[in-house]
Symmetry: C2
């Protein structure tokens, strides 16, 4: 499946929507991205997983790590295609004490690549790395499907991490415009929304 075909599939299943969306922060957006619906479409989920593989082939790592919940189906899909071992953090570990914070095998010093669905800000991404790094895992690379182009890449690079994305949100808009899903006006409106939010 080409990048464009996969973006079209994501649009068709409602993982990418256009309209008028008001976020909790009060920001109004002409688009909405949510890959959690993928579990209802296992074939598309599998294709999303497959799309990470070429990026991962270029990186050197021992294990992949995912964060609940959105990234767990995706990291499972990646593992299904590249057969690399993975692990995940548990959200509720703090409440239990004796329960493990991380599920899956690893050893101190293992090179780990973080697999996530999207990136908005870099700061929230750095936050989720903490439990992994405090276990002695070495994380340099973060791979996402969509880079929302809200400054996350630059924030991560400033902290010494590298972001890799299968597709950028502006590219998603352009591909959907090519397919006639977005009109010229809508394309411009959506591209502008990226610039506006980045400067907030």
């Amino acid at each position: 499946m080409t990048k464009k075909e996969l973006v079209m599939s994501l649009y068709k299943i409602g993982a990418i929507k256009f309209g008028k969306f008001t976020f909790k922060s009060g920001i109004v957006s002409p688009n909405y991205v949510d890959l959690r619906v993928l579990v209802s479409y296992p074939k598309v989920l599998s294709e999303v997983g497959k799309s990470y593989v070429p990026l991962l082939k270029k990186l050197s790592f021992d294990r992949m790590a995912g964060i609940p919940y959105a990234a767990l189906p995706i990291i499972a899909a990646v593992g299904f295609h590249n057969h690399k071992p993975w692990m995940y953090t548990r959200k509720e570990a703090k409440n239990y004490g004796t329960k493990k914070l991380i599920e899956g095998e690893y050893k101190k010093g293992d090179k780990v690549v973080l697999i996530d669905d999207v990136i908005t800000t870099g700061l929230s991404k750095i936050e989720v790395l903490k439990p992994l790094e405090s276990e002695g895992l070495k994380i340099k690379d973060i791979v996402v499907y969509i880079d929302r182009e809200q400054g996350g890449r630059e924030e991560l690079e400033a902290k010494g991490y590298r972001l890799h994305s299968v597709v950028r949100l502006s590219e998603v808009f352009k591909l959907l415009h090519q397919e006639g899903i977005l009109s010229d006006t809508q394309l411009q409106e959506n591209l502008n929304s990226l610039k506006t939010r980045k400067s907030l």
Copy 2:
């Protein structure tokens, strides 16, 4: 991969262990089963997912449902093989209020099959069905990889559910005995432990 080959794989990766294990309840067991390690062995995870497919083919359902965390990698693996839509409950939804309790699409009245890793008691299984049933989902069938034969099957049947398992724990012991992993004495000790715990 045959049933025996998969059980051998699970033994080799440490998902099934023999020795002396003391559980929180104080019960001492000569065996320990934990499928959470599967994420470190994606090929074995994929085989575990595939092993559910023949059982699921005999059932009538619209969607599959999984419970975090142990069952999530497994239900993803099942979905890659049978391409059926799935959903999962979120553990922490209560703390947030506005967050969704269930991720993935569904509609009231959908027939849902619960996918889980193992069954010990039936009561804990019925507990996890509540959020799904309170959304109007119809659940009749529960499919697990290992039936630990601790009375769970009977408890579920008494409540009108049906349990389906790929393999029973006594069968696991017998297969590993055939392969020379368990001695005659160990086989008997492990089979006896099932009977003892069932009668507690």
